[in-house]
């Protein structure tokens, strides 16, 4: 695929709120990206020129925010709506190898949808993991440092740094596996190379709070599906796209923002499709 064939959809419903900066991250790299309301895929009341089809796109992003107010559970309502109107075509989209990304609330949506960890099926019938309330019991907005554990994914191929800083801002980000099967789940993830990002302290050591801001098992910050083209992560790469939005950049600045490397990886993956 050529750069000019790439078209990214950042899905929105009421309450998603990181779509603008996520669209900008892609546009800054010279590709077409737009925020698309879920209704544009299915509603009869939408005018022709605003109607969209999932096949119009080569990548789909579930952005951060509080979709549908995070009522019931974070991401639950958005994922229920996806299931009712887009499930089949999304499955097809994933199976064709196109990248699907969930950031923060988007990760919660992918988990509730059953698109992650996706051990046995592209989209499982029931959620196979959960993102629970942070151990601190609070919303946590802070810089988080992540070790890149796998580069064999659609999202990390061009990240030439061991540790990246993507800020976190969430209240429900603690990765939880089914009670009693934690070890089994971890083993499967490791075996499949599905653990992509783990929280570390600024020195690169796996640490507890506040560096692991939510108490996630095994310091997991982001995981992908076995094929590596569906990724969910709690921290926000779009917020450290520019070197000048990094925390403490006045103490020493990188030439390229850590977030830019992340988004660049996605484009490079697509150009190989």
């Amino acid at each position: 695929m050529e750069l000019n064939e790439i078209r990214v959809a950042v899905l929105r419903i009421e309450g998603t709120n990181c779509e603008d900066e996520t669209v900008h991250a892609f546009k800054n790299l010279g590709v077409e990206a737009e925020a698309v309301h879920l209704k544009q895929f299915y509603s009869d009341t939408i005018r022709e020129e605003e109607k969209r089809n999932i096949r119009d796109y080569t990548a789909i992003v579930f952005p951060g925010g509080f979709s549908a107010g995070d009522y019931i559970r974070a991401g639950a309502i958005f994922s229920a709506r996806i299931k009712s109107v887009l499930r089949k075509s999304l499955e097809e989209f994933i199976e064709n190898g196109y990248p699907v990304l969930g950031i923060c609330n988007g990760f919660q949506v992918l988990v509730e949808l059953g698109a992650l960890p996706a051990f046995d099926k592209t989209i499982s019938d029931r959620p196979e993991m959960a993102l629970g309330i942070n151990n601190s019991g609070r919303f946590e907005c802070r810089p988080t440092f992540l070790r890149v554990e796998s580069r064999n994914t659609a999202f990390t191929g061009s990240i030439d740094r061991d540790i990246v800083m993507f800020p976190s801002a969430h209240a429900e980000g603690r990765v939880i596996f089914p009670d009693g099967r934690e070890e089994e789940w971890l083993e499967r993830l490791k075996e499949n190379g599905q653990i992509v990002f783990r929280y570390v302290d600024p020195g690169g050591r796996y640490s507890g709070y506040p560096w692991n801001p939510n108490g996630s098992i095994y310091n997991i910050a982001g995981i992908c599906n076995p094929d590596g083209n569906v990724l969910g992560l709690m921290p926000h790469p779009e917020r450290s796209f520019h070197p000048y939005t990094h925390c403490s950049w006045t103490r020493g600045r990188k030439e390229t923002g850590d977030g830019e490397l992340f988004f660049r990886s996605i484009l490079e993956y697509m150009m190989k499709l």
């Binding site: 019931i72 309502i77 229920a80 299931k83 603690r174």
Partner: protein, 79 residues
């Protein structure tokens, strides 16, 4: 028909909301509080007279939206 659906955290799943509430209550001087668990309840009004059928529908709601089986269990009480 009206049903109450209780969504609870499964045993062994940490409940930071409950723990923090416990801490706050202790701070306010309620020294006899031993434990606090958060439970969510949805009161659902349905156009369905048959209790058995209603229960089946409600279970489906729980499975598909109201509960995440990894961390939550549910209990249905018909009113």
């Amino acid at each position: 028909m009206i049903a109450e659906v209780y969504i609870e955290l499964k045993k062994g799943v940490a409940d930071p909301e409950g723990e923090n509430t416990l801490k706050a209550l202790k701070l306010l001087g309620f020294s006899t509080v031993r434990n606090v668990e958060t439970v969510k309840m949805f009161r659902i009004h349905m156009d369905e007279e048959d209790e058995e059928r209603a229960r089946n529908i409600l279970e489906d709601m729980c499975e598909r939206l109201l509960a995440n089986p990894v961390i939550q269990s549910y209990r249905i009480v018909m009113k």
